[in-house]
């Protein structure tokens, strides 16, 4: 962070000649400020289960703007003091007394987050400096940023997603979350697995049939994947509704800024239990499991030909999709990752791990200084790196098999 701005003031005492000069840093002035949170009826906070690292997180929700913040225990302590009666100087003293150390930058960042989420009483629009910074950005950076902006424009959201989901849930969607539905899906998957096993000797023939009409097969596969992907997201949203939580958005975006995908914003499920979150996470991949099973069963009972090959191919792709979705260590925040993060009680595991990565060479020189939570983040990084490496090696092998000159 840059040096704090300074203001120089000149004062005179009444009846005396001469003057005094005072240099006041912005942070020094800030200490007198008494942050005040919005009225109690406009926010809610839920304690999350204790994490594997030993800490506890809290999800703070602005009930008016439907925005959420994840607070750690220190930030939660600060939040409890932002009642308008404590100055930042008093808050920092109290914080020091409670935790034995104090970092002023932490208060500033927390205040910024709270303002952005509309959880503190507003003090006007603070967007100016950002625009000044933007105006000083280098040409190439601006070019890159505008390209990324156009790429992001492909994102869209469904208006009134919560109302839409509530209606679907009320008119039959709730049946998806009956234990019988789960039992039937698993039974179907078992039968489909047996049929897929019986068809597996014909895999090479199916591949050849599909390869004969690559564009047609490709287009059909893409259409099927797209439809199932939309259903997957809809089921996540309906699962969220089954716990009477709000679906903030449904839409299409670039996962981690790269991978185009549908999504349902189910952040409100953090106001519920850990079990609810895991069920919402699991509900999505069950859609791939169900439709993949249907495809395998239909393939088994279809006459030999392109139709059978196509159904078998769809079954393979959907089951594989379910597996990829449930695999937690890919650096992507897919359903499996969410389940692991929820079970560990570390909802921002990926972000924390990525933030730790650049410091790792230095930190590993003193392994005793690493906390339990940081060891978990290191394990996550390691598993993700190994998984990506294996994936790449497996695919290099596949590409090599396609090119006869490499043999």
């Amino acid at each position: 962070m840059a040096e704090p701005a300074k203001l120089q003031l000149l004062t005179r005492k009444p009846g005396e000649t001469g003057f005094q000069l005072h240099e006041i840093h912005s942070s020094q002035a800030h200490l007198g400020y008494r942050p005040r949170r919005i009225a109690d009826e406009f926010w809610a906070i839920t304690a999350q289960p204790q994490s594997a690292g030993g800490g506890r997180a809290y999800v703070l929700k602005n009930l008016q703007s439907d925005r959420y913040l994840l607070l750690d225990s220190k930030e939660f302590y600060l939040w409890s003091l932002f009642d308008g009666s404590h100055s930042l100087e008093e808050v920092s003293r109290s914080f020091h007394h409670q935790f034995g150390a104090f970092d002023y930058a932490m208060i500033r960042l927390l205040l910024a987050k709270l303002y952005q989420a509309g959880l503190l009483v507003e003090r006007g629009n603070l967007g100016l400096q950002q625009s000044l910074v933007r105006s000083q950005t280098k040409f190439w950076a601006m070019g890159f940023s505008s390209a990324a902006k156009y790429w992001r424009r492909i994102a869209f959201t469904l208006p009134n997603a919560d109302r839409f989901c509530s209606t679907i849930y009320r008119y039959g969607g709730y049946l998806l979350f009956h234990p019988v539905t789960l039992g039937l899906t698993l039974a179907l998957a078992l039968l489909a697995g047996i049929d897929a096993w019986r068809l597996s000797p014909q895999t090479k023939q199916f591949a050849q049939l599909l390869a004969a009409t690559p564009w047609f097969s490709g287009a059909l596969m893409m259409a099927a994947l797209l439809a199932v992907s939309m259903m997957h997201v809809a089921v996540h949203a309906l699962a969220c509704k089954s716990y009477s939580r709000r679906v903030r958005e449904i839409g299409f975006f670039l996962l981690q800024g790269v991978l185009p995908t549908f999504y349902a914003d189910v952040t409100d499920i953090f106001m519920s239990t850990r079990k609810a979150r895991v069920i919402v996470d699991l509900a999505g991949p069950l859609v791939e499991l169900f439709w993949g099973s249907v495809a395998f069963l239909l393939a088994y009972h279809s006459p030999p030909g392109v139709g059978q090959a196509f159904l078998f191919g769809i079954g393979v792709v959907l089951w594989e999709g379910a597996l990829i979705n449930l695999y937690p260590f890919s650096f992507l925040e897919l359903d499996g990752y969410n389940i692991v993060a929820d079970l560990l009680g570390m909802p921002t595991l990926r972000q924390q791990a990525l933030a730790l990565a650049p410091q790792l060479p230095r930190r590993l020189l003193h392994p005793c200084s690493l906390t339990k939570a940081e060891w978990i983040q290191i394990a996550y990084l390691l598993l993700c790196s190994v998984s990506v490496l294996i994936y790449l090696i497996a695919h290099l092998d596949f590409i090599r098999s396609l090119l006869p000159s490499w043999q």
Binding site: L7, Q8, G18, H30, Q129, Q130, A264, P347
Partner: protein, 171 residues
């Protein structure tokens, strides 16, 4: 070269004048001594002269509220201030405070007008230099405005950049 002409030759305002022009100008200036802590002129005083600093430092401030002024700038030997008073009848826009014992040279507006009448070429050179100095000081003022805004933003807890909000998008 007399000591005063030597001093004037180092003042940016007169850097386009040759030795004879400086010799013409020197007798028109009046020496003024000020003790530390005194005030040369106050904000809203009548404005009628420019000051050149030979010795000492001057703090220029603007009243904010009560007994508090905001420091705008400082002037050291070789600098000059109060130039608006040469052209403008409006009251002083800021207060000039003497920080350390100072020796200043005062150029009255009436004298400056005489230079216009009797030495137009010299006046033109001074005016040209004044315009460039006005521009430079305007730039400095813009920077000061930006710093003041930055100070206000930071003092109210502003942190640049968007802070990420928490959320889960199930895909």
């Amino acid at each position: 070269m007399s000591p005063l002409i030597d001093i004037l030759s180092r003042v940016v305002l007169f850097q386009d004048l040759d030795a004879s022009a400086l010799a013409t100008l020197a007798p028109l200036l009046i020496a003024k001594k000020f003790a530390a802590g005194t005030v040369i002129f106050r904000e809203l005083d009548d404005s009628d002269a420019l000051y050149i600093v030979e010795k000492g430092t001057i703090v220029v401030s603007k009243h904010v509220s009560g007994d508090v002024d905001m420091v705008l700038t400082r002037f050291a030997p070789g600098d000059f201030f109060g130039e608006m008073g040469l052209f403008d009848n409006a009251p002083r826009s800021a207060t000039a405070n003497v920080e350390t014992d100072s020796l200043l040279w005062r150029l009255d507006r009436s004298v400056f007008h005489d230079i216009f009448s009797h030495h137009p070429e010299m006046a033109a050179k001074i005016c040209y230099r004044l315009v460039t100095i006005f521009i430079e000081r305007l730039r400095v003022t813009n920077e000061q405005t930006r710093d003041a805004i930055r100070w206000g933003l930071e003092a109210t807890g502003y942190v640049s950049g968007n802070q990420s909000l928490f959320g889960r998008k199930s895909t």
